[in-house]
Amino acid sequence: MTSEKENGENAMESALSSVANSAAQSRRTPGTQAMGVGLEARGIHAWFGDKHVLDDISLDFWSGTVTALIGPSGCGKSTFIRTLNRMHEFIPTAAMAGEVLLDGKDIYAPGVDVTKIRLKVGMVFQKPNPFPSMTIAENVLAGLKLAQIKVDNKDELLEECLERAGLWNEVKDRLDAYGGSLSGGQQQRLCIARSLAVRPQVLLMDEPCSALDPGSTLKIEETISQLSSSMTIIIVTHNMQQAARVSDYTAFFLSDGGPGSMIEVGPTGEIFGRPKDKRTENYVTGRFG
């Protein structure tokens, strides 16, 4: 087991930052991951109009782990995670097939209240999108207002969420400033804090760092590592080093012009170190294309 891991990390060489590496090592041992299956995708297909964009994806996401979805542009990664909290259906021509089980219950079952699903499965987007008309504090608590959730101690929750998102120390003196006054990286952590306030079980992150500079990216990655102990995190990323640094499992998606499908999934070390599929190997070693 140890040798396997080392092989994997040798292949990655300097790609792994030392910070995330130590954190990852402690959790990447088989046997400690399974706190239970939090979210299961069963045979997910997706269409936009007549275009079949996602072909038969089945994937389990374990509680307390980070799963990275990697693959070239247009392979359906983003579409896939948007099916996991029912954001997919906002595109008028969208259709899907399959089941997504949250705690064993299909989130697409008739009569399910979609707003409650989105409370349990939060999402952080590519571009930081705090509400500009709200202050930092209001932004964090926006989810409570939107979903009409009552809490007893808002200040405590505010501090806790900002703390977990790694933003508390930077903004604690100016909680009344508007969200737009923060830097891009701070805004993205504010968006993470905003997602945390409604206490989701699962957090979906759609390329959360692609609009940020390397310093901010590192901060977000630290935040992800800290959050992963208490929730399920699924992150789409184009950055393979990032996938290697933050994730426990990695799934590789690919489209050959037709619908995107999942080529391979496994512990991150294996996917980067000893991929079973030639296409995965080409992609992770940069020989793709």
């Binding site: 269409w47 079949h52 259906e89 259709a95 899907m96 097939a97 209240d113």
Partner: protein, 349 residues
């Protein structure tokens, strides 16, 4: 990848299930029932009572159903959904009522003679089968055509200035064009009276009527044309200049022709804007009863004037004439509008 036929079919699980459809049908039906019951049991009466009560009852019933099924957030959402539906219904009701009214009342006054006779030897009180709209139709056509001939170059130049030259006047001009579109039509009429009729012509005719319409038409043409020209991609301009064309030739030979059908839309919307304009026409054209093809001399009839005059007389025949003329005017506006839409749609593709 596999090309075997798919075993799975695209589904839209977020759409209403049969059971939800039944639920909402029950909600609607019970609202209708309750509305009828309330109207029967209380002094409230009339179509409007039914209308407003139905939405009020629907809000309450829908709220209760959603509150029980999904909680208070969903219930509030259901209130707003009913409210916006009520809003659009209230906005559309007058249009439907107007169209039905014009059709029903105007139909009685429509006959072929309308398009071949004028009112030279008839009065508006004569039986409706006598006399016609010929003078009004030719008058409106002439007045609007002259207005178009004057407004089109000015409106187009304004649009070209705003999109192609972008000089230091761009912002103020944009602003002024908007301000101009808010000039009340009666003020346009007074202006032509004070600036043209009193000092110069000293008589009312079709041409001065056209001049007042020019003021109302320029902003419509300029703003629509500006939007159309903005849609022309910048690389087309660069291509023209890169081929050695001067800016003038590029605009005249490349940009404007590329926007041709969109500019037609601007012209048509400009015509639709002024064709039914009444106030300045009453002040300026003199409103003759005979066909007059000379815009520079003598009173000139027009559809709005004819409608106005017939209505003012107030007898049964004359009011029927007014409605018939409105029907003709509305058909013209409708036709222009549809043409503009079709051209606009084609442009966007």
């Amino acid at each position: 990848m596999s090309t075997t036929p798919l075993a799975v079919k695209p589904q839209k699980p977020w759409q209403a299930t049969p059971r939800q459809r039944v639920t909402s049908a029950v909600v609607y039906l019970s609202s209708v029932f309750l509305t009828v019951a309330i109207v029967a049991l209380t002094p409230l009466a009339g179509k409007l009572a039914y209308f407003f009560l139905f939405f009020a009852v629907l809000i309450v019933v829908d709220f209760i159903v959603h509150y029980i099924r999904l909680g208070s957030a969903a219930a509030k959402d259901s209130i707003v959904r009913t409210l916006v539906a009520a809003g659009i219904t209230v906005a559309l009701l007058p249009i439907i009522s107007i169209l039905l009214t014009v059709f029903n009342r105007g139909r009685r006054g429509i006959h072929w003679g309308l398009f071949t006779h004028d009112m030279k030897i008839n009065s508006v009180n004569d039986p409706i089968t006598q006399g016609g709209l010929l003078h009004a139709l030719t008058g409106t056509a002439i007045v609007v055509l002259i207005a178009l001939i004057i407004s089109l170059p000015i409106g187009l130049l304004t649009a070209v200035y705003l999109t192609e030259i972008k000089g230091r006047f761009t912002r103020p001009i944009k602003f002024l064009v908007q301000a101009m579109s808010g000039v009340p039509s009666i003020v346009a009429g007074l202006f032509i009276l004070s600036a043209v009729v009193y000092p110069l012509t000293k008589s009312l005719n079709g041409f001065v009527g056209s001049l007042s319409l020019v003021i109302l038409m320029i902003p419509t043409i300029a703003r629509t044309a500006e939007e159309v020209l903005l849609l022309i991609p910048g690389d087309l301009r660069e291509a023209g200049v890169a081929l050695g064309g001067t800016q003038w030739r590029t605009v005249a030979m490349v940009v404007v022709p590329a926007a041709r059908s969109g500019l037609m839309t601007a012209v048509i919307l400009g015509i639709a804007r002024v064709a039914g304009e009444t106030a300045p026409i009453i002040l300026l054209t003199g409103g003759g009863d005979a066909v007059n093809l000379n815009p520079f001399s003598g009173p000139m009839g027009s559809l709005p004037f004819y409608i106005w005059k017939s209505f003012a007389v107030g007898t049964e025949e004359s009011i029927t004439r007014a409605w018939a003329a409105i029907l003709v005017l509305l058909v013209i506006v409708f036709f222009l509008f549809i043409t503009a839409r079709v051209l606009g749609e084609r442009k966007r593709k």
